[in-house]
Structure formats: C-alpha cells, structure tokens
Amino acid sequence: MRLDLTVEGKNLVVKFNGELDHHTAQQIREKIDEEYRRQKLQNIILDLKGLNFMDSSGIGLIMGRYKICLNNNGKLALIHVNSRLEKILKVSGIFKIVKKYDSLSEACHIF
C-alpha cells in the first residue's frame, strides 16, 4: 500500500494506492494521524481512487478518522468511491455520517 499525503489549506488529502486490510490499516492510520496533528489541520479528504481492495478494516479506519476530525471541529469526506467500495460502505451505514463526492474540488467546496 502506497499513501500520498498532501495539504490543501486546512485539509489533509490522503490518496490510497493498493489494498486496505487489517495488515496495512495500522501503518496507514499512524501516518495519517501524525500528519494531521503535525500540520494542525482541520478536515480530511480520503481519495479512494487507487484502492484496489478494502475489507471491513477500511470501515474502522474511516470511522476512526471521522471521530478525530469531529473532535477537532473538522469534517471527513470521501472522494472517488467506486461501486465495489460503495457496496461494502453501504453495509456499514457509514454514509449516514460521512459524505462522498465526485471530485476533490467538490469536496473542498463544502468545508
């Protein structure tokens, strides 16, 4: 799993490349949280375009980042959610609290 972290204003943009499971989630979580704190950011945008596989570990990872943003008066957004990811995320009911957008600019717009 390769992770690209970029900062856009108060937003942390996280690009995933690879497979997200229990094995890869731990490391990813640490990298995201460290960057978010170190740069004193507010919102997180998860770009799922390059995510080839995700199991329920991904649901845990998204929920965890959602809580961190919430505690910091920030928001979490998902972009590029394909039909596979949509299927597993729907099961979890996560779309009740986390919104998905078609593009980065759309997601940034709402913050």
Binding site: H22, A25, Q26, F53, D55, S56, S57, R84
Partner: protein, 145 residues
C-alpha cells in the same frame, strides 16, 4: 459432484491475509466468476482470516486453515482456527459488535461475510477454536479450460 478442492494452512501473521485472498481467488477463477463475484469472495475470506488472526489467536501464534471445494457452480470455503473460540455466537454476529475497538475494528466482519456470500455458518467452542463455513454460488458458470 465434487469438481475440485484444496487445503491451505499458514501461521497467523497479518501479512498472510492478502496471501489467503489471492489463493482463494485463484482457486475460484476456475468457476469463471465475474469481477464482482470474485471481489465478494476475496472480501469475505479477508474478514474470516483476519478474525482468526486477531481474535482467534490474539497475540499468540497459531495455524489458520483454509479449505475450498467446488461443487458444480458453488464454492464452499471453510476457515478454521484453534484459537480461543467464541462464547456467544449470536452476540458477536450483531453488526457493530466488536471486542477490539482499540484496534479500530468496526464490528462489521460477520455482517460483510453474510452480505457478500450466499451462506454463512459459524461453529465455535471456547478454548478450542472457531470454524466458519461460507458458500458462494456463481451465476454465469462456464468452467474455464
């Protein structure tokens, strides 16, 4: 009619989660699955194998067993551990129930297995281990040469 079968075992190391997915997907490819069917199977296998590793064996090391059988257009997958077992199966199968929130587990593993597969059967004995049986039916079957 039993068309083909395989058995796999490996130690409960988290890097074997992706290995188990590849093996089952490769075995299932004989059934000429759609991309979506194959992704369903990979996801369910990932859930069950991860559970064996993090819940079954927790911090100890044990062996995870994976068995597959192809019977006509159905794939049966059994995933077993000799770990600590489950006390109350009905309770743990509830969506969002998890005993490992500190690992950011979502408690959605069993729900995903149930949703993505056609059958799910859980047997467990405390102190002995857990036995998961899942079946997926492939719709557009045309055995690949």
């Amino acid at each position: 009619m039993l068309d083909n079968s395989m058995k796999l075992e490996f130690p409960s190391k988290s890097q074997n989660e992706s290995f188990a997915r590849v093996v089952v997907a490769s075995f299932a490819s004989q059934l000429d699955p759609t991309i979506d069917e194959l992704a369903d199977v990979k996801t369910a296998v990932s859930e069950a194998v991860t559970n064996a590793i993090i819940h079954g064996y927790e911090d100890t090391e044990g062996i995870v067993y994976v068995e597959c059988k192809i019977i006509n257009n159905k794939l049966e997958i059994i995933i077993k551990d000799n770990g600590q077992g489950i006390r109350d199966i009905n309770m743990v199968m509830e969506p969002l129930y998890t005993t490992k929130p500190e690992l950011e587990r979502s408690g959605m593993g069993f729900t995903v297995m149930e949703t993505f597969m056609d059958e799910l059967e859980v047997k467990s004995e405390v102190g002995k281990g857990t036995h998961i049986r899942m079946v997926k039916e492939f719709k557009s079957v045309s055995i690949k040469e």
